[in-house]
Amino acid sequence: MSGDFEPKIVAYLCNWCTYLAADLAGTNRLEYPANVRIVRLPCTGRIDFNLIIKAFEMGADAVLVSGCHPGDCHYTAGNYHARRRWILFRELLDVMGIDLNRIHFAWISAAESKKFQQLMSDMTSRIREMGPYTGYREIAGIEP
């Protein structure tokens, strides 16, 4: 563990699935580290590339994007579009020099509160070990 470092994780969650899983984790009192900040979105289809960059720009150490399982999208195909775009983004982000290990995609349904809890714990300790993300600021030329 690297000292006192507490990572900041921004989570973009689909309103109909993973956001509800997080709610259920609450109802079930499933404890996990308090490092995540949840942003509610109507659908993972709404998540664009800029939002991920924005989070890093604002000092996030990692970003989570999570929505419904394939085929379960509340809006029929939004998560499918998200997945397709993600394939493109990956390349782009990679070219830009963004550390892809700091971006995590997941499918978590409304019932999978345990999975949400697990992911939050795992992600927090993983990022804690990786240390603060300075890469983006370096790329963007932002003063730390």
């Binding site: 507490e6 900041k8 921004v10 956001y19 509800l20 997080a22 709610d23 259920l24 984790a25 609450g26 109802t27 009192r29 499933l30 404890e31 996990y32 580290p33 308090a34 490092n35 900040r37 949840i38 942003v39 509610r40 979105l41 109507p42 659908c43 289809g45 709404r46 998540i47 664009d48 590339f49 800029n50 939002l51 924005k54 989070a55 604002m58 000092g59 996030a60 509340h74 809006y75 029929t76 195909a77 939004g78 579009h81 998200a82 775009r85 809890q117």
Partner: protein, 647 residues
């Protein structure tokens, strides 16, 4: 808590912050209302539980106090914070503060929104007049709404009108269907367009405009009194009857079957002597009502409707060589179409039907003899990926069992043999029904497929397998009945494209969700029922039809439609009209539009969101390369605002 409240009050933009233990309770809500009025608030953040619990509650409270309900945000500090993190630690408090700050930053960017109001035509269109369409039309009409029923054939009734007796109760199909057909024909709330097809559809939920082509009947339905004298006298009588699937004959002027609704004939110009050789004209002379009109032409009518129910049913897979779809392959090895005594299930229904070409006696087509050994083969086409149809047709196990019973009841010394792969009889009293066919009516079941059928001296040699006995079996049959796969009816795909609804790789129409929205399509206001959505039997078709009708009534129970205003909008001035959004939108809510100046000259093209169709998924926002699409309630600015506040 008090500490949080104090710190919240310090966030820029916050006018006041108050603490109350049960904000959602009545006293809590009145506190909210008081503060809104007292402090003249133009935004409200409730830091409490999940928005899924009480967003509605607080929006209502805001509205009651004169604040636009879409200026309310909820900071979820319970489920997402206090219940899941170690209590009373610095980290937990910091997170709670972050959540509140994020919500405040979001509410600052909120707009007043008004629910979208959509007018509503309370008239429904039902496409397809099989048992499903009939049921849906009657249910909607009985609820007091107008129905327009469009049926492609000269009569309503669909496949069920041609069935003999029906599983699982063996009641006579026509006995139960005919009264319903008559009801449809006479219902004051139902306008029937038979021999008609939907040509085009435009508009959206509540406001569809439908163009219908009424094919030329050459008989004026209004003048005709249904005496059928013309039918009796028409000399052109040796034409294959579509209704009897080629086993019987019909005249050139005909009703498909005696109980047809409407009981008005049509002339088939392809077989009418008048049309072919300009002779005859008997029907014109004989008709006292002056209803015959050889000059009749197709007519186009337009109807406005608020909802559409699609019930276009199914057809059977063509077992013979010729196929209409690439990738689907015929069963050359079964000789259907080459050997007259190899027939399909619907043909057998006609043979067994009292109103059929043999008056219900089982006679084989080739020579009219009573077949003493009949082989029934299940899963013909179905569950056969090599032929292009991987799915189970669901009804054939049941109707095959039924066929063996009908056969045995009519030919007491006959023997029915069935080749099957699995017996799929899941349903109330269904398996008992199959057992009855085996135990009481003596059908012999062989578990295995048939490899080939060939004809030898008037006998059909059926080479099959008994995989349980573990050996090939050969049966000399007098007739073979193939339970061929159910496929969507002709033109279903084209219709789906007109309606902008989905269909699967086999052409069955797609429901919005297989479990929770089984009769809705992804297009609001359009519903599906019956076998057009997937293989199903009569009970299921009817249940689904009633469900679709109920959904239509839910829609029609309102005087106008309101929709959540959190929809997308496009900056039309800057839109590059690249159509990326249009293609990505799962609801086809975006259309291409023109911007014209006052002189009517085209300035530019743009994409435009139809707020009546937009469901607010936000896909368009993220695909737009020029950042011209945005989503109310989750706008770019709002989300940035939230993320910004993390610093």
């Amino acid at each position: 808590m008090e500490d949080l409240t104090a710190r919240t009050a310090e966030i820029p933009g916050v006018k006041c912050a108050v603490h109350y233990k049960y904000m959602c309770s009545d006293p809590g809500q009145s506190l909210v209302r008081e503060k809104i009025v007292e402090e003249k608030l133009d935004g409200l953040v409730v830091a409490a539980c999940s928005p899924h619990m009480h967003m509605k509650t607080f929006r209502a409270a805001a509205k009651a106090a004169g604040l636009n309900p879409y200026l309310v945000e909820i900071a979820n500090i319970r489920e997402h914070c206090s219940w899941v993190h170690e209590p009373k630690t610095e980290m937990t408090t910091v997170k709670a503060m972050d959540i509140i700050r994020m919500s405040v930053n979001k509410v600052i960017q909120d707009h007043s929104l008004e629910p979208i109001k959509v007018s509503l035509v309370k008239r429904a269109l039902v496409i397809g007049g099989g048992v499903a369409g009939i049921q849906a039309a009657l249910d909607i009409a009985d609820a007091g709404h107008e129905v327009i029923l469009v049926e492609r054939e000269p009569s309503v009734g669909g496949k069920m009108a041609g069935l003999s007796e029906t599983f699982p109760t063996l009641d006579c199909s026509q006995c139960i269907l005919t009264p319903r057909m008559v009801e449809v024909g006479q219902h004051p709330g139902i306008r029937l367009y038979t021999y008609s097809e939907v040509e085009a559809v435009s508009g959206f939920l509540g406001n569809f405009s439908v163009t219908i082509r009424k094919k030329a009947r050459y008989v004026d339905v209004d003048k005709c009194n249904g005496c059928l004298d013309c039918w009796a006298k028409c000399p052109s009588k040796q034409n294959q009857s579509e209704f009897d699937y080629g086993l019987g004959q019909r005249k050139a002027i005909y009703v498909p079957f005696p109980q047809a609704v409407p009981a008005r004939p049509v002339i088939d110009p392809k077989t009418c002597i008048k049309f072919q050789r300009n002779k005859c004209g008997v029907c014109l002379k004989i008709c006292k009502a002056n209803a015959i009109n050889y000059e009749d032409e197709d007519k186009i009518v337009t109807e406005e409707v608020g909802a559409i129910v699609v019930a276009t049913g199914f057809k059977l897979y063509n077992i013979g060589k010729k196929q209409d779809t690439p990738g689907i392959i015929g069963y050359g090895e079964y000789g259907y179409g080459e050997y007259k005594d190899v027939i399909d299930g619907l043909q057998f229904e006609r043979l067994a039907s009292a109103s059929g070409p043999t008056s219900g006696e089982i006679r084989r087509p080739s020579d009219g003899a009573e077949p003493k050994n009949v082989v029934f083969i299940a899963c013909v086409g179905s569950r056969d990926p090599a032929k292009g149809i991987p799915y189970c047709s669901k009804i054939c196990c049941m109707y095959t069992a039924k066929h063996t019973m009908l056969y045995k009841h009519k030919v007491h010394d006959g023997q029915a043999h069935v080749f099957y792969m699995d017996i799929r009889a899941g349903g109330k009293s269904y398996d008992e029904f199959v057992r009855r066919a085996i135990e009481k009516d003596g059908a012999r079941y062989y578990r295995g497929r048939v490899s080939k059928i060939s004809e030898e001296n008037g006998k059909l040699m059926v080479s099959g397998s008994d995989t349980i006995g573990g050996e090939p079996v050969e049966i000399e049959a007098d007739m073979v009945v193939l339970a061929s796969a159910m496929r969507p009816s002709d033109g279903a795909k084209e219709l789906a494209q007109k309606l902008k609804i989905g269909y699967d790789e086999h052409g069955f129409l797609s429901e919005s969700h297989p479990k929770l929205r089984p009769v809705e399509t992804t297009t609001a206001g359009i519903f599906v029922c019956g076998a057009c959505q997937g293989p199903k039997d009569i009970p299921e078709s009817v249940a689904q039809a009633s469900a679709a009708a109920a959904k239509v009534q839910v829609l029609f129970s309102k005087s106008e439609l309101t929709r959540e205003p959190e929809v997308a909008r496009i900056d039309e001035i800057n839109c590059a009209a690249c159509s990326a959004c249009l293609r990505a939108c799962p609801y086809s809510a975006i259309e291409r539009a023109e911007i014209r100046d006052r002189g009517g000259n085209l300035v530019k093209y743009t994409s435009r969101v139809n707020p009546s169709l937009c469901m607010g998924c936000g896909t368009c926002v993220s695909v737009c390369p020029s950042k011209c699409a945005d989503l109310e309630g989750f706008s770019e600015q709002q989300i940035y605002g939230m993320v910004n506040s993390l610093i």
